[in-house]
């Protein structure tokens, strides 16, 4: 930007503790075209004042030196003008205080900080650095230009899977005005539910058994002109990117190509392979069958013992057959309790004299489905107990003998029944195959699968549809173990996300989480050394590689985390509004004290979503941070380039702290691996530091969650103490 205007607010203790004239001078010194200070900048009058000065002075950028960027966002927003917020309130006057000998906070800033230097001097040095960094940032800023692909954009939604979830996603998308291509592996639509006789009600009061909803859904799909259906078909390959996916579909001997905008993955589940449940008699005893086989019998209206065709008069259901078992499926399948209750009712309705037993560990009829449980419980012919099955063996006359221990009656039961039904669980189709067959450098499947037993689930509780592949949203039993009712809701959500992705592409901004972001990384490939760090480290698989190892960029796959920009040793990747040069210029804009005063200078790169708000919270509580510390918020620690560390070290900073999100199994980083990658990169920095004859411990990374306000402050203070243990950076003042 050419003409940067600086506006300094004097309210909220800013003028009380800072010398405004000196700040104005610092702004001019950095090259600001116009500098103003005024009380109560966030008032209507304040805003009008800024607007009038933008006009009068022809400003193309404004640096608002007032409160945190997290507040008054809407106030300091001026059409077409670049805005940078310098946090003098939370970042300086509310969070840096002089301390007495006993660590108590003092009121008087004029106290001596080090010999010959007052606390006020240091506070001003901090505020001046921040003002200059703000101006420097704007000087390197360029307005983002929305990405408009040259290729033809498709707004068609691909739905993979024609079960309840897939059918619902297709219908809902079509009703919202979008064209749909639905690909079903089987020859018929309807998935698993079509093979069922009935299911639990999906509407209030959720207590009855109803005929499968799926027939209606199939009719609706097949009569909808906006939905094109490929049956007996599979996805051969998906290449390209959201808005421009090229999908190869194989149907019989044919190969069909479709251009697709976004994808709903609703490939469903397979029942767990009961042949692995020999310990429960399956495969050894003919009259031990699965809930899938029992459902088939029910649908055919033919309840006969497999061994001899005799009518079934008694059934025992074994819950958690394979589920919640580390040797089989470690998770609960969420639907089997309801399924067995329903199937118990089948046999009771088929033969009022028949008896059903359900042996469970925990009866899991979640939430409103308690209504269904109660409805079934009222039937005296259905016997339910908690218990452990210790033996299943062949009894007399073709019966199966079951021994149940630890029951609710406190006794061991021996029950003989015609048939034992194993309530087997769900295995997502993606546990065994990628289904998507993505032509991505990082592999054909969703990276989440390994975290969630093969389910295409999201790591984020708040954002259940966020996979690491943009434009691909999972729904139904491939997403999480779930009931039919939930699968319908889930499919609607996934369809909405697919539509939303198409809107984002049309408007030229990112999808979750940086939905406001119109900038994207730009690569200067002339300087690329084909090191492949960017293509390997991109959390979202946005980059492919050509045969020479150069990155091939797919902007609509990108989530704008800047991990590539952080990874690149050649510094060839930058965003219009966020670049390596920008951060370097910010570092350069700070002023270093001379050696020998022991005025330490520390720099922190801080995650703007978690650690930065935590430090704002610290300011509201008036916790004290070291006055030596300068903070640069970054979108993710993954976007911290090693060169920033070198720049800061050669500038004279005595220590550098990286504050990011927790990593590991329960990672909190919304860009997946930011702090983990930064940690790895910093290990390499150690070597560079040694070459500069600096201690590698001068660069430290800590993780904090957004609520760990006290911990964040404590870690920063400890860091300062540690840095004071070293001598001053010899580069200081050069």
């Amino acid at each position: 930007m050419e003409k940067v205007g600086v506006f300094i607010c004097t309210s909220c203790d800013i003028a009380k503790r800072l010398n405004i004239e000196d700040l104005e001078a610092a702004a001019r010194d950095q090259g600001a075209a116009a500098v103003y200070s005024r009380e109560f900048l966030c008032s209507k009058e304040g805003r009008e004042f800024i607007e009038s000065k933008i006009k009068e002075d022809g400003l193309d950028a404004v640096c608002i030196c007032a409160c945190s960027p997290r507040v008054n966002w809407d106030v300091f927003n001026f059409d077409g003008v670049a805005v940078e917020r310098v946090s003098l309130r939370e970042g300086v006057v509310w969070s840096r205080f002089p301390v007495g000998e006993n660590g108590e906070i003092l009121e008087d800033d004029s106290v001596e900080y080090v010999e010959g230097v007052s606390f006020k001097d240091e506070l001003m040095a901090l505020a001046k650095d921040y003002v200059k960094m703000g101006v420097a940032k704007l000087q390197s800023y360029q307005h983002p230009v929305p990405y408009k692909p040259e290729d033809q954009i498709s707004k068609t939604i691909l739905v993979i899977g024609g079960g309840v979830a897939g059918l619902t996603a297709a219908i809902e998308s079509a009703k919202a005005g979008y064209d749909v291509v639905l690909v079903e592996k089987e020859k018929e639509l309807g998935g698993f539910v079509r093979k069922m006789k009935a299911h639990c009600a999906i509407k209030p009061p959720y207590k009855d058994i109803v005929p499968p909803i799926v027939e209606d859904l199939i009719k609706e799909v097949e009569s909808n002109e906006k939905i094109k259906v490929y049956k007996g078909a599979q996805i051969e390959k998906i290449s390209g990117a959201p808005g421009m996916f090229d999908v190869k579909i194989k149907q019989g001997g044919k190969e069909i190509e479709e251009r697709i905008g976004a994808i709903v993955l609703a490939a469903g589940f397979k029942p767990y392979d009961a042949s692995k449940l020999e310990h429960l008699g399956y495969g050894k005893i003919k009259n031990v069958i699965t809930n899938v086989q029992f459902e088939e019998m029910a649908k055919a209206g033919n309840f006969k013992r497999p061994s001899d065709g005799a009518p079934i008069k008694s059934v025992l259901f074994v819950q958690c057959a394979g589920q919640r078992d580390e040797n089989h499926l470690p998770y609960c399948s969420g639907y089997c309790c309801l399924a067995s209750l329903k199937q118990a009712k089948y046999i009771r309705e088929a033969d009022p004299d028949a008896k059903a037993y359900i042996i469970y560990d925990y009866m899991r009829t979640m939430g409103i489905y308690e209504n269904f449980y109660k409805n079934i419980q009222d039937d005296p012919g259905i016997f339910l107990t908690k218990g452990k099955i210790t033996e299943i063996s062949e009894g007399e006359d073709g019966k199966v003998k079951v021994i149940v221990e630890e029951t609710l009656l406190g006794e061991t039961l021996e029950i003989e029944v015609d048939v034992v039904v194993l309530a087997v669980g769900m295995v997502p189709v993606t546990a065994e195959e990628s289904v998507l067959n993505l032509e991505y450098r990082q592999g054909p499947a969703l990276p989440e699968l390994e975290l969630f037993y093969g389910y295409a689930d999201s790591n984020f509780i708040c954002f259940p549809y966020e996979t690491r592949r943009t434009g691909i949203y999972a729904a139904g039993a491939v997403h999480q173990p779930m009931t039919i009712q939930q699968a319908i809701e889930d499919a609607r959500g996934a369809a909405l996300k697919a539509i939303q992705c198409l809107v984002a592409i049309e408007e030229g901004h990112a999808v979750h989480p940086r939905t406001w972001d119109f900038a994207y990384p730009e690569f200067n490939l002339k300087m690329c050394t084909q090191c492949k760090r960017c293509t390997e480290e991109c959390p979202f698989g946005a980059l492919n590689e050509d045969e020479k190892g150069f990155p091939i960029q797919f902007v609509t796959r990108c989530r704008r985390c800047g991990t590539c920009f952080g990874a690149c040793p050649q510094r060839i990747i930058s965003f219009k509004d966020y670049s390596v040069d920008m951060i370097t210029n910010m570092i350069q804009a700070t002023e270093m004290p001379e050696q020998g005063y022991y005025l330490y200078r520390l720099l922190a790169f801080v995650c703007e979503n978690d650690a930065f708000p935590a430090l704002d919270m610290a300011a509201y509580k008036k916790y004290n941070l070291p006055v030596s510390l300068r903070i640069i918020p970054v979108r993710c620690l993954g976007s911290v380039n090693v060169s920033f560390i070198k720049d800061a070290m050669s500038k004279g900073f005595d220590g550098i702290l990286l504050l990011g999100c927790k990593y590991g199994e329960y990672y909190q980083c919304h860009f997946i691996k930011g702090s983990e990658l930064a940690n790895r990169r910093m290990e390499n920095v150690a070597e560079t530091l040694q070459q500069l004859a600096l201690e590698p411990e001068r660069v430290t990374l800590h993780t904090v969650a957004i609520d760990e306000v006290e911990e964040a402050v404590k870690k920063i203070k400890e860091f300062e103490e540690e840095m004071k243990g070293f001598d001053e950076n010899p580069f200081k003042g050069w």
Binding site: F40, E172, Y331, C332, I461, F463, Q486, Q500, P513, Y620
Partner: protein
Amino acid sequence: MANSTILVVGGGISGVTAAVEAAEVGYEVVLVEKEPTLGGRVAQLKWYFPKLCPPACGLEINYRRIKTNPRIKVYTMTEVLGISGGPGNYKVRLKKKPRYVNENCTACGECEKVCEGERISEFDFGLRKTKAIYLPCPFAFPMRYVLDKDALAPGDLERIMQACKYNAIDPDMKEEEFELEAGAIIWATGWKPYDATKLDNLGYGKFENVITNMQMERLASPWGPTGGKILRPSDNTPPKRVAFVQCAGSRDENHLPYCSYICCLASLKHSIYLAQNDPEAESLIFYIDIRTPGRYEKFLKRAQEEAKITFIKGKVAKVEEDPETKDLIVTAEDTLSGKKVHEKVNMVVLALGMEPSIKGLEISGLKVDENGFVITDNGIIACGCAKMPLDVMTSNETATGAVIKAIQTILRG
């Protein structure tokens, strides 16, 4: 022509999700919340299960999405009185309560310093007091104070008005009624804890050391009344042995006939809080069924590894207090052994079930079932815990799904 605005009622996690998801498809959204801040129930939680991560993290992202999206208009302290019209053209009557603090407020906090009057913090379920002028919660959105005029001490108003340099205090604000038009309505008013005093055998309200699960969240929260230390109310000591009473109100024809979905998981999470507070602390969980569906099974295992938990299958018959120590004696029948058990504990946590927030309110034009859950009706789409008891993840699935139904309502015209 249908009105293309979507009204989202309720600013908890479901409502916030619905609002941002809808706005990011290009629709104008009005989000109304009856409290002075967005965030709803999740803002009161220390952590979510199963990741044990703070809800503020996701709220921060969502608030940023709201701040950067001019299509979303937020009204706090606003409630819906009634709905008329039909799909595509609803007319909604609303009531906005006075905040007595206007948009000039910079949240500088000077008013709070001079205010003497106090009020009980509902946000902390009565576990502490705030000043009469207060920030609704530390992570408030919008970041603005609110004044409870009834709690002012003599002279407070003058002091507050003098302390505020920004002319932000407006004691003459009035309650307003107004009307909005919307093409579709997403109803996301969420839940409230069941009234624990109705469970008279469990001692809530009678014995100091019987608390609710939501109070436990506030005790564990680093931003809560005890700064995150779990201390029992009678003497502020860390409890060594805590009983969790599952299905406190839930799965009970006399109270809430349904299962409240989250309480088992919440008590497991609370056991981990306790173990982090004191590794020796014991949790006794009295349950009917331990309900950790799907991949939450892993969380059950994690809780068993990280906390000292004893599971007792049986419904708690009564809770009594030892008047001297203020310890509690919990009586239940262990249905596995058939024996009566009496356990002495330092604190009892009632795993209260959820009730729809709007239960008992008469809102014309809104369909509810006999439990007070909202029934989707044409262009009025229920989601989250206003629809049925759910966890956060599933609530957000329903909230996202509700948006597509709202859009279809508008497209139908």
